[in-house]
């Protein structure tokens, strides 16, 4: 880089510092000038600016910051000899910054207020989700009473997008989880010669638990997040406002089609995921030397209807939850551009937490009911 380099000579015994050259953002010296000047031990420092050949607002800001930093350290600073050409910019900078009020960044909340705010936010979220759930139920009943008012074409389109397009990933995840589960348990069970029970372990775990759980998590990532971001960006574009002022209900027109689609689509996906998981388990069984039929025979001996029912029932509830939370977060988003991302993140997090909680509740419920 050409240009006149910035130079600084001194301070001498009387605390005079001679400035020279060009002072701007690109020529400013690296490192702390204040530290160097304080070390010199002078209690008063005078900057002689007569050697400066160029000064801009950034350069002036550097000098004024130096004045403030040194002042805080107990060193008095004065400036003199401003060259004629730089007077205007220097005075503009001095006058302008003299009028800047002393603002400081808003202090972060203390521990107790922050905790309080977190709890209030949590309660507010819960309240909003509950209210939304109520609205969905009411509009859902309305839909059942007058099914011809439903947005069935949209519902079908959403179901297609959420189910058909999610088939490959669901099958892949199901298959791999079945495979891993079978492989890990087979290693231990072989030690005791009971590797035949791998079939039961994999089968029961997948059909009762993992099939529905994994599908719900895949759908949270694929569809729930899509619902949040779609609806939140409609909010940003004032499409939701437009809908409301035309007397149309966003819950009925936007949320219900998504919720209905996902509630009925999730069980189908879950069944596909289950089958892929069983297939994965079967592959491991075959690999450790059992004929294909053994797996199915062993499994059908221990599997009863309640196992299949629990998995199926859970997948309905999970599908409903994923869509409900996804839509709620979208519709309740703020209306700024960054709110779309926030709504999506919150939707996914809420869904994963809710699914984990619901799954545990179901485990207790089915245990008590002895299913």
């Amino acid at each position: 880089m050409h240009g006149q380099p910035f130079t600084l000579k001194g301070p001498d015994g009387a605390g005079r510092v001679l400035l020279g050259g060009d002072l701007n953002a690109f020529t400013a010296p690296r490192g702390s000038l204040a530290g160097m000047l304080v070390k010199s031990g002078n209690k008063e420092i005078t900057f002689d600016m007569s050697g400066l050949v160029g000064l801009d607002l950034n350069g002036a800001a550097i000098l004024m910051d130096l004045e403030k930093t040194l002042g805080d350290l107990g060193v008095r600073v004065s400036f003199e000899g401003v060259p004629e050409e730089e007077k205007e910019i220097w005075e503009l900078a001095r006058d302008t910054s003299a009028k800047i009020p002393d603002t400081s960044p808003p202090a972060p909340l203390g521990f107790i207020p922050a905790t309080g705010k977190m709890i209030m936010d949590f309660l507010k979220d819960g309240y909003e989700l509950t209210m939304f759930f109520g609205e969905v139920v009411i509009d859902g009943i309305g839909l059942l009473l007058r099914p011809w008012t439903g947005r069935w074409a949209t519902t079908l389109k959403i179901a297609e997008r959420s189910v058909v397009d999610a088939v490959p990933v669901t099958i892949l995840v199901g298959f791999l989880v079945g495979l891993i589960l079978a492989f890990q348990s087979a290693m231990v069970m072989q030690l005791f010669g009971v590797d035949i029970f791998v079939a039961d372990l994999v089968g029961l775990a997948i059909i009762r638990e993992l099939g529905a759980l994994l599908t719900a998590i895949v759908l949270t990532g694929r569809s729930g997040s899509a619902f949040s971001s779609e609806l939140a960006s409609m909010k940003t574009n004032q499409e939701i406002d437009a809908m409301v002022t035309m007397g149309l209900s966003p819950v009925k027109n936007l949320a219900l089609p998504r919720i209905v689609a996902l509630t009925f689509a999730t069980p189908i996906l879950t069944v596909l995921g289950d089958m892929a998981g069983l297939l994965g388990g079967n592959v491991v069984m075959v690999a450790i030397g059992h004929p294909v039929a053994v797996f199915w025979k062993e499994l059908s001996g221990h599997l009863d209807l309640s196992d299949i029912f629990t998995g199926f029932f859970k997948s309905f509830v999970f599908g409903f939850t994923v869509a409900l939370v996804g839509c709620q977060r979208g519709l309740f988003a703020g209306s700024g551009p960054s709110d779309v991302g926030e709504a999506t993140t919150l939707g996914v997090v809420t869904n994963i937490i809710l699914i984990a909680i619901l799954d545990s509740l179901f485990a207790v419920l089915f245990y008590v009911l002895d299913w």
Binding site: H2, A25, A28, N58, A61, D65, E85, A93
Partner: protein, 279 residues
């Protein structure tokens, strides 16, 4: 620049021309556009043979009805698109001479304010303005803060340093965007429709801010606009773009364009054939 000041600048820099810290000749024209063709890839050109100059301290207007290619011309001038033909010189140097390298160098010498302000939503105003300084200058945190606060004060936003862009009004966002464009002390500022979406009072305030900055700092401006009021208050000279002419229909002072120019585009733009069109 005075005589003795020139003598102070060392002579080992090519041909005795004074250079600024980035190696530019500060006395060269802030902007010179030469025979530029504005076109998007795979589409017919929007404008052809566009040539004009911007003097030091001048506020140049780019005028024309919506859709005539004002924003597109601006995108080419700031190097967001490459011109199909012709080029632009900033302080005498071709910004397209060798790809991104010369563009990035030139980008330290001009600032841009976009139509929406385009502040970074996750940073407060102070950090928005300090961002280019953090990336490109040697300023430490304290000096960066002082410099950013100074720029915000210049545009009348003192006291709002720690506000987020979403918490301030549209007019304030545009002011903050101007402060950010000023961060690296450019000699030239491009503004795309500064008054768009603002009420007349706020828009006029912004026009006056631009005038003041141009006077106090000797800044040159290229302002895209189609608002008659701000054209008449702040523009020194303007080029009028026209779709049918596929280029500059006419240029001159706003007074000339508004009252004397016989070009149909100028008459239409300044509504001088209103009576005929009303029929």
């Amino acid at each position: 620049m005075g005589q003795d000041r020139e003598n102070l600048i060392s002579n080992d820099i090519g041909k005795g021309v004074a250079r600024d810290a980035l190696g530019y000749d500060p006395n060269a024209l802030p902007l010179e556009v030469i025979d530029m063709t504005v076109a998007y890839p795979g589409q017919p050109p929007l404008l052809e043979g566009v040539s004009f100059k911007v003097e030091h301290g001048e506020i140049l207007g780019i005028l024309g009805p919506s859709g005539c290619g004002k924003s597109s011309l601006l995108r080419h001038l700031v190097g967001l698109e490459y011109p199909r033909r012709g080029t632009a010189l900033v302080l005498g140097e071709d910004i397209f001479a060798n790809g991104e390298e010369s563009l990035n160098r030139a980008r330290h010498r001009f600032g841009v304010m976009y139509q929406s302000g385009a502040l970074f939503g996750d940073l407060n105003l102070l950090d928005n303005v300090a961002m280019p300084l953090k990336e490109y200058s040697r300023l430490g945190p304290g000096a960066r803060k002082a410099a950013a606060a100074l720029k915000l004060a210049l545009v009348g936003l003192s006291g709002f340093e720690y506000h987020m862009p979403a918490e301030i009004s549209g007019g304030m966002r545009k002011r903050a965007a101007i402060a950010r464009a000023l961060a690296l002390e450019p000699s030239l500022l491009f503004l795309d429709e500064p008054g768009a979406g603002l009420d007349p009072v706020t828009a006029t305030g912004l026009d006056h801010l631009i005038l003041t900055l141009s006077r106090n700092l000797g800044l040159s401006f290229v302002v895209v606009t189609h608002e008659l009021r701000s054209i008449l208050t702040m523009i020194d000279r303007a080029i009028l773009l026209d779709k049918t002419a596929c280029g500059i229909a006419d240029s001159g002072t706003p007074k000339y364009l508004a009252e004397e120019s016989e070009v149909p585009a100028a008459k239409a733009f300044f509504l001088r054939d209103q009576e005929e069109r009303a029929l």
